[in-house]
Structures are given as structure tokens and as C-alpha cells.
Symmetry: C2
Subunit: 323 residues, 2 copies
């Protein structure tokens, strides 16, 4: 099977478009503003499981994954479209209503207006295509392709929580609002991820990030995407990676915890690079936001080194497939 | 089961957006231009059958159905996005490559740039979400809601061909490039519909249409949508409806032929209304384009009359479900 990555490369050559290959496509809106647009397809039994999905959370997540792409451009979300295919048996339940409750609740938070989409029946599985349009200052959208050797690599928030939440679901532990805080925390990271719009905006307004991507596939894969687009390499330090505080609930060893953070995906935090001079100037702001400096960009094109216990190893992009 | 129509009405109230309920959403781009956007979900075994679909034609059709929505606004298509979910067994064949051949071939015809989308695996069925963005002069996009009592109702082209093509496929007659012209003609209307962009543009440039919709669900349903949005009724004349010349290959009686034209759907022609004064001025142009005057708008809100053999009957919106 060809990988999604190879396939997108092919379509890119085919379409002759420079707009494919980032979190969003960027097209000029007017003299001051660019329009950024993204689409994310969520398929039952590939991206979520019906029996695990709380409909409100799934509605939230469908929008959140696309908002996260907007965040990764340093842009502001403005409107959305939703195409949804539902099997007849689900259509008869209150699933769709609850799904939209979750969707609209998050949309209102970011003042995103649902302007269209499509509705269809499907034979068997739910399928959702979530489209969001946003705005960035003209030519100021933060691309994956701007990282230079020497730039510092940062991530927002903590990593591995969504993967740990997934492991809990796999082990039969479902979300329960009256459950233990630690478990709930991890499950919510997986089921109801929060898009880092305000962090993206902060980085954009201060012209801080030379490149950015959201952590949807996992740090190892998403850093590889960023390096590929920027034609650079990277070195990251295992002991600098901010691990979610509750990972101990699913992972005993540091190695297992790192696996969640590196390869788990779906944390929907932001990975970005900063010019060292800018970092010097904004050191306190970056620290106060809780961003973690995890390494630096190198000139070793598409080689990613992981430094662990002072030993270096090449890190392969790896995303553990969910279903 | 709630109908798609009722469902969209509900979402519309929920979202508080005035942009839902037309062929495209309209959002301001700059002082001179509006952006129009549409999304169309195509689901295997609901909207197409894998064993009938020639991949190049399916790629063409996926784009064509959305271009048809752009045409129905009198707008010009500019960019597109494509989200596609493919089962592993199909991924291994040359289906995807041929699908994109058909897609890009039509895209090039209208200089539409593919700027993004998403790719995912699906467990079993192919699913496609086709998104197209276009441009209209500011506040000049032709809506469904502008028809007034007394306006004349027109359609472009011939109707019923796509439904007849569907009947042929159902009867086991597949498309064969060396087959008989009449059969090929009907099959192509179903498998490779052509979006009426230039007709839409002509109507827009001459400020001719007070309301417009594309014929995707079928004349009876789409006229009902237009009447609903315009808060009007309509009267159409059976003997004025332009029937596809090859309908005799699948339908013996006039009644059957009319059923194809009224309820078959997927002709992707345009249905539009014209103020009688404008019609007087542009009579020759409208005739030369081959548009057919099929009736007039009335003040009988949401009542559609079909006049046949000088008898009037209320026409119920009816779309024959495909699968």
C-alpha cells in the first residue's frame, strides 16, 4: 500500500499547485489578508470507534482537528463547513443532534460560523469531512517550509496524553464524568482535544515561528513532515520532551512514555521552530507560555536524531495505527 | 428517518447562519468579489456503484457536481479541495490514479486549481467529499431565494438523460466506447455530467436570473427547493419540458419519460427564473442558447402545479432513490 504521504506528494506534482503540502492551503483574499483552508476526513473504524465515541465529543473533535490546522498556520478561524455521512440506523438515534451540540459548542468558543456542507446516507459507517476557513495577514501564514538550520524546536503543552487515552479505551476503560481525574484527563485528551488557536496567534503576532505544524500524526512523523518541507534535519533531546503528567497510568517505563509522546499522535499541540536571536529576545514569553524547547534544526536533510542518555540514534517517523 | 431537507433546515436554525440553504455559501472576499463555496459528499453504494463506475468518469463527476453548484450561483470556479477515503483493496489498484485523471482533466477545462483536501483509508466503501470555491461579483451571486410571482421559469439543456442512463446501468448495460451512440449518450449523462458554468456566467453577466438552482435532485424536488427559498409557488407545463431525445430507449410512454425528467435527478442542468420584462428584452438570446421556458412562478407558496393535457395537478417533489 502506498502511504498517504507518498500519495499526497504525487497529487502535488500532478496538480502543479504550490498550495498542497501544508496544514492549510493559502490563497489571497484581499490586499491585507490571506484565506487559509483545511479539510479533515474522519472515518468510523479508522479514526474513531462508534462504541467509544461520545457523540458530543466526536462533534467537538471533528471541528477541533481542523481548527488545529488553522492554529498551525498562526491564523484565525472564521467559517466552517461540514459534510457528514450517516448510516440509517444511526440517523434514527439522537447521535446527530448530540454530535452537533459538541460541534457548535466549540464553534461558538472561536466564533466560527458554519456556512455549509453536505449530508448523505452511508451504507454502514459514519464519515465526516470537516472544512475550516481562516484568515492570516497577507503572506504571514506560518508554513512548514520556513525552518533553517540552527533554529530551535519548540512544542506547546504536554505530549502523549492522547495516545495514553487511546490505550485506556483499547483496554475497555470508557470516559465517565464521575471517574478518577487522572484517567479522565487522558481520555479527554483523546476524545475532546483542544485546538491551540491562541498559541498559534501569539506566535504569529510576534513573528516568532519560522515554521509550524500541528501534532496530529505524532512528534516523530510531524517533525519529519516539517523537515521534509523545509529541506532540513533535526536533533531532539528525549529528556526535554514534555511528557503528560498522567502517562504513568498507562506506561511503566520511560521508553513506553516516550513512545506515546513520539509516535502516539492526536495531541493537537503545536510544533514550531524559532530563530535563536528571536528566542533570545522572547525567552521569558516562550517560557511563560509553557512551551518546551526540545531541540534544534540541523542541515542534515530529513535526518532526525534523538539524543537519549547522551547517545544519538536516528528517529524514524512512526505513527501507531489506531485500528 | 428525517429527510436530508428537514435536517438541513434544523442545522440552519441551529447555526444562525444565513449562508446555509443555497447551492453555495456566499462570503465576502473583498470590496468587488464574493467567495462562493460548496461541498458535495459522494458515497459508494449510495451515490455510485463501484462496479458501474469507470474511475476516470467518477473523478470527473466528483468535480462536476460541485462545479454545477458554482454554475448555479452564476459564479466562476477558481479552486478545489478533495477529501477521499479509499478501502485498502481499492488503494492497491490503479483506481485512484484513473480517478484523478478524470478529475484533473475537467479541472483543467475550467482552470480550477486543486489546493488541498485529505486522504484516508476506509474500512470498506469509497467516500469522496468534493469542495469547490468560486468567485462572483459582490452581492451578485444568484440565490434560490430571488424568484417573484410572475417570473418565468426556464431550464437549460434536456432533462431525463441521467435518469435514463441510470436505468440502463440497472439493467446491466455498461458504458462501452464502441457501443451505440444513443445508449452511450444516456450513459454519459449519468456517468460524466457536464457542469453548466458558461450558461450560469451568461445569466449572471446579463443580470437575467432572479433565482437559480442546479438540477441535481430532479426538477420536481429542485423547483420545490427554489420555491421554498423564494416563498413562492410554480406552475409548469408538461409539454414544455425538454425531454432528452434518447429517452425512448428506456421509456415507452410519455408518462415514463416525464418521470425521468421530473424525478430522475442528476441532469446537472440549470433551473432559473426570469422577470418577464427581462425575458422580453432577451427573448432571442435565451432561445439561441437552447433554454426552455417551462412555466411561471405563482404566489401559491410552495404549491407546484403541473399542467398536462390542459389539466392541472399538484406536483409532489419526488426523487427516485438510487440504491
Amino acid at each position: 500500500m502506498k502511504s498517504e504521504f507518498e500519495f499526497i506528494e504525487k497529487i502535488r506534482r500532478y496538480s502543479l499547485s504550490s498550495k498542497i503540502g501544508d496544514d492549510c492551503a493559502v490563497i489571497p483574499k484581499n490586499s491585507k489578508t490571506d484565506l487559509v483552508i483545511t479539510a479533515d476526513l474522519l472515518v468510523e473504524d479508522i479514526d474513531f470507534r462508534f462504541d467509544w465515541a461520545i457523540p458530543e465529543f466526536l462533534g467537538h473533535k471533528a471541528l477541533a482537528v481542523s481548527l488545529s490546522d488553522i492554529a498551525a498556520m498562526g491564523a484565525k478561524p472564521v467559517w466552517s463547513m461540514l459534510s457528514i455521512g450517516i448510516p440509517e440506523k444511526v440517523w434514527k438515534t439522537d447521535f446527530v443532534e448530540k454530535f452537533y451540540e459538541g460541534y457548535f459548542c466549540l464553534a461558538q468558543k472561536f466564533r466560527v460560523e458554519l456556512i455549509g456542507g453536505d449530508v448523505s446516507e452511508t451504507p454502514d459507517k459514519i464519515v465526516i469531512d470537516s472544512i475550516v476557513g481562516g484568515e492570516a495577514l497577507r503572506n504571514k501564514a506560518i508554513l512548514r517550509s520556513g525552518a533553517k538550520a540552527g533554529d530551535l524546536i519548540f512544542v506547546t503543552g504536554d505530549l502523549g496524553g492522547a495516545a495514553a487515552g487511546f490505550k485506556l479505551l483499547e483496554a475497555g476503560i470508557q470516559y465517565d464524568s464521575t471517574g478518577k481525574a487522572g484517567l479522565k484527563n487522558l481520555l479527554l485528551k483523546q476524545l475532546q482535544p483542544f485546538p491551540q488557536i491562541s498559541h498559534g496567534k501569539f506566535l504569529s503576532e510576534n513573528d516568532l515561528a519560522t515554521a509550524m505544524i500541528d501534532l496530529s500524526d505524532g512528534l516523530s512523523s510531524d517533525l519529519a513532515h516539517l523537515c521534509h518541507e523545509s529541506k532540513v534535519g533535526a536533533r531532539i533531546y528525549a529528556d526535554q520532551i514534555p511528557l503528560h503528567k498522567n502517562l504513568r497510568l498507562v506506561a511503566d517505563s520511560l521508553e513506553e512514555k516516550l513512545d506515546c509522546a513520539l509516535n502516539g499522535g492526536e495531541d493537537f499541540e503545536l510544533l514550531f521552530t524559532v530563530n535563536p536571536k528571536k528566542n533570545f529576545k522572547f525567552k521569558n514569553e516562550l517560557k511563560n507560555k509553557g512551551f518546551s524547547l526540545i531541540g534544534e534544526i540541523t542541515a542534515n536533510i530529513e535526518i532526525i536524531e534523538l539524543i537519549s542518555n547522551k547517545k544519538s540514534a536516528v528517529l524514524q517517523p512512526k505513527a501507531f495505527r489506531h485500528f
